[in-house]
Symmetry: C2
Subunit: 147 residues, 2 copies
DNA sequence: AAGTAATTGCAAAAGATTTGCATTTAGAGT
DNA sequence: ACTCTAAATGCAAATCTTTTGCAATTACTT
């Protein structure tokens, strides 16, 4: 039997090890989904997308927790009543979400550095800024056409 | 007995009527708290701050819902497991939140218009952008000193 | 002053997240 | 390859957050 190496899996294993996390099948499966879907996913959707090897909800929550601490995922708030997560391995980027249908489009860049810097300079209380969120909301073409 | 008119209450009554909402004591009380605290509040805190005339949780949720639709409040996501709300009567502005202690500082301006415009221009799917969120996270001075 | 739709409170349901504990397992060390 | 251990998982229960149905109340129109 020939063992075929999977480039993607190798990458994830390394990613996890660098973060001093064990490379479990569960984690690899979750990372695959996040990579493939390429947009912020809720815990529930994440779980559904994995299919086969059912993963317990508590496990997914704990995973997102530790992934977040290690900088592997990023939490995204889309004004739903639950959090969404996406891979943080991609460069800093943002999204536009449709207020009607929930469609998400990528904004593949981030021009916020100067603004973040300005905010930090003016701040009395803060000595460092570690992170930022920036989300746009609007109406997508197909929802606009419906009216 | 002399009736003394309260400027602030008058203002809130007008605000509500303009939005075709009834000016109830409950709503006035909530608006007063939001005005006074001057920062994004969770439903639970909002309820506590009102003190005296206990307001039911469902009522507060429904209120935030309609206030949001009418543009009276704005929802703010601070990566807690619940939403925060603040008055939308203030000009567009943003916040820095301490990741350790949760302290919130105001950024009393918004320079994002050009970036929002650029995003809309480049977008394939969206014809209009109605709203945006921008939140900074960092470590505040006192939390930094503790280490 | 009366009439009505909007608002509220209460109780229950639904949804989201966290926790405790027993069991399993990845990976370090041999 | 085998052993050992801390880390990770599943399951059940607890907790926290948000929504809903319904009956009673109330702000405002006429
Ligand atoms: Mn969602
Ligand atoms: Mn909070
Ligand atoms: Zn950015
Ligand atoms: Zn802004």
């Amino acid at each position: 039997m020939i063992l075929i190496k999977d480039k993607q899996i190798d990458y994830f294993v390394t990613l996890l090890h660098k973060a001093s996390l064990k490379a479990t099948p569960t984690r690899i499966a979750v990372l695959k989904v996040l990579e493939k879907e390429h947009k912020p996913l809720s815990i529930a959707i994440l779980q559904k997308r994995i299919g086969e090897q059912k993963i317990d909800t508590a496990t997914v929550y704990r995973m997102m927790q530790s992934f977040q601490e290690k900088g592997i995922v990023r939490r995204v708030d889309l004004r739903h009543t639950h959090a969404h997560y996406e891979l943080a391995t991609r460069a800093d980027h943002h999204h536009i979400t449709c207020e009607r249908c929930g469609k998400i489009e990528d904004i593949p860049w981030c021009d916020l550095a100067p603004i973040v810097k300005k905010a930090l300079c003016q701040s009395v209380t803060f000595t460092q800024i570690t992170d930022h969120t920036f989300e746009l909301f609007g109406i997508c073409r197909s929802c606009a056409d419906e009216e």
